[in-house]
Amino acid sequence: MTEALEGKGRLDRQIVALRVAKEFQDGNIVNLGVGIPMLACNFIPAGREVIFHSENGVLGFGEVTLPGEGDLDLVNAGGQTVHRQPGMCFFGHDESFAIVRGGHLDISVMGAYQVSEKGDLANYMIPERQVGTIGGAMDLAFGAKRLIVAMNHTTKNGEPRIVKECTYLLTAPECVDLIVTDIAVVEVSSRGLVLKEVAPGWTPEEVQELTGPKMIIDPECHEIELM
């Protein structure tokens, strides 16, 4: 990575979550993975009604509570306490994953270490430690109708996380539909990766420089809206 790009401002985790939340359409059933994705439950676009699923057996919960203020028996998959909400319901793990595997989720959002050009996902083996945790990620990657990845565009060392072929163990092949990063929004299409949006101050060419495979620049490619 050139030094110039290294110093450029990137979106923080909240803004990435905010951008992800804009994908939630009215009535969508959405599962949010641990990390950035989970923050998205706080940013549902005004006027839309979205139902969140969490693998630990709940549908329809509300926003995260202030730490220490919630009910420990009402948490999301990351163990954060969330608000009670009308319409919410609880179920056991077999039912929770019948919902996931059975294709009943509209959107699943998760973090990733790498995403390939074809939409292969690698997000369970922790690269530097050679151990990993599959958790619910595989079921979600196989089951959801639409899979959105929220991650940093590059590793700490500046290596692209969007790659030609994943070098880490796969969570699932050809499953990712959209990648929202701290500098861009990239669609995985049958034609290849399509750059749809860039962070303020970034050009498509700069984003391309930090991306493994060659992307198609969408003619409508524009700046990510931050509100």
Partner: protein, 275 residues
């Protein structure tokens, strides 16, 4: 004689668990969903070479004491005391810090079979429901498919996944009665009802024992037929050891807390919060 599955103590409830047993452990990862007192009793009994089946390998009592949990033990009590020979587990390690399970794994002191969470639930349910196996799509094209029979059904590839049956299932419920009927509380339901009935003996640790008939028949989640023993937590919480030693786990928890606060502030700024 009236049926009575209520047992007086945790030690009595686990008295017949032997070395080498296969133990299903309910809950998700949070300590409030775990059969804490049963896990402590299993530890006290001193059994070893266990095969455990659980969603996580525990976070350790320190993390939960910080949250003020009156019953802070989770899977970690069996992990850190090296009672486990083989773990069938979905989320064994943490991305945020190196847990005790990872340390044992690196030291070659425990075997692991990592199973996708939904497949784990389905395999446990298969044992309970008398199925010989189920075909799941999860894991096709990944390391999970290794050594498993593959079959194309209706144009899609599936893996044959086999039942996981326990000798014992240790679960945590909110309320239970003398027939073994159980209800749970919120997101602490998770693997508990899934594992109930999937073992030769199912033991339920409950917050409260109620009279037969007090539980709403429409709202009972686990029918008593799946439960062999019910044991109640003490009304008064045990005295808490003050010392919290797992600095890495604590730091990770604190970091998450800061982030939530920041997120709420930002959402409010944008008029997207309701509280």
């Amino acid at each position: 004689m009236p049926i009575n599955k209520i047992v007086d103590s945790f030690d009595e409830a686990v008295a017949d668990i032997e070395d080498g047993a296969v133990i299903l452990v309910g809950g998700f990862g949070t300590v409030v969903s775990a059969p804490s007192c049963l896990l402590e009793a299993v530890y006290r009994k001193g059994v070893k070479n266990l095969t455990t089946v659980s969603n996580t390998s525990g976070f350790g009592a320190d993390v939960w004491r910080m949250q003020g949990a009156p019953f802070p033990e989770d899977m970690d009590i069996l992990v850190r005391n090296e009672r486990i020979k083989r773990a069938i587990v979905s989320a064994p390690v943490s991305a945020l810090y190196v847990n005790n399970f990872e340390k044992l794994l690196r030291a070659g002191k425990v075997e692991i079979e990592m199973v996708p969470q939904g497949t784990l639930a389905e395999r446990v349910r298969a044992a309970k429901a008398g199925l010989g196996g189920v075909y799941v799509p999860t894991g096709i094209g990944t390391v999970v498919e290794k050594g498993k029979e593959k079959k194309v059904i209706d144009g899609r590839e599936y893996l044959l996944e086999l039942p996981i049956k326990g000798d014992f299932a240790l679960i945590h419920a909110h309320k239970g009665d003398r027939w073994g009927n159980l209800v749970y509380r919120g997101t602490s339901r998770t693997f508990n009802p899934t594992m109930a009935g999937a073992a030769r003996v199912t033991i339920a640790e409950v917050d409260e024992i109620v009279e037969l008939g007090e539980l709403d028949p429409e709202a009972i989640v686990t029918p008593g037929v799946y439960v062999d023993r019910v044991v109640a937590r003490p009304k008064v919480a045990p005295a808490q050891e003050a010392e919290i030693t797992d600095a890495q786990a604590l730091e990770s928890a604190a970091k998450t807390r800061t982030e939530v606060e920041e997120t709420i502030r930002r959402a409010k700024e944008r008029g997207l919060r309701h509280d």
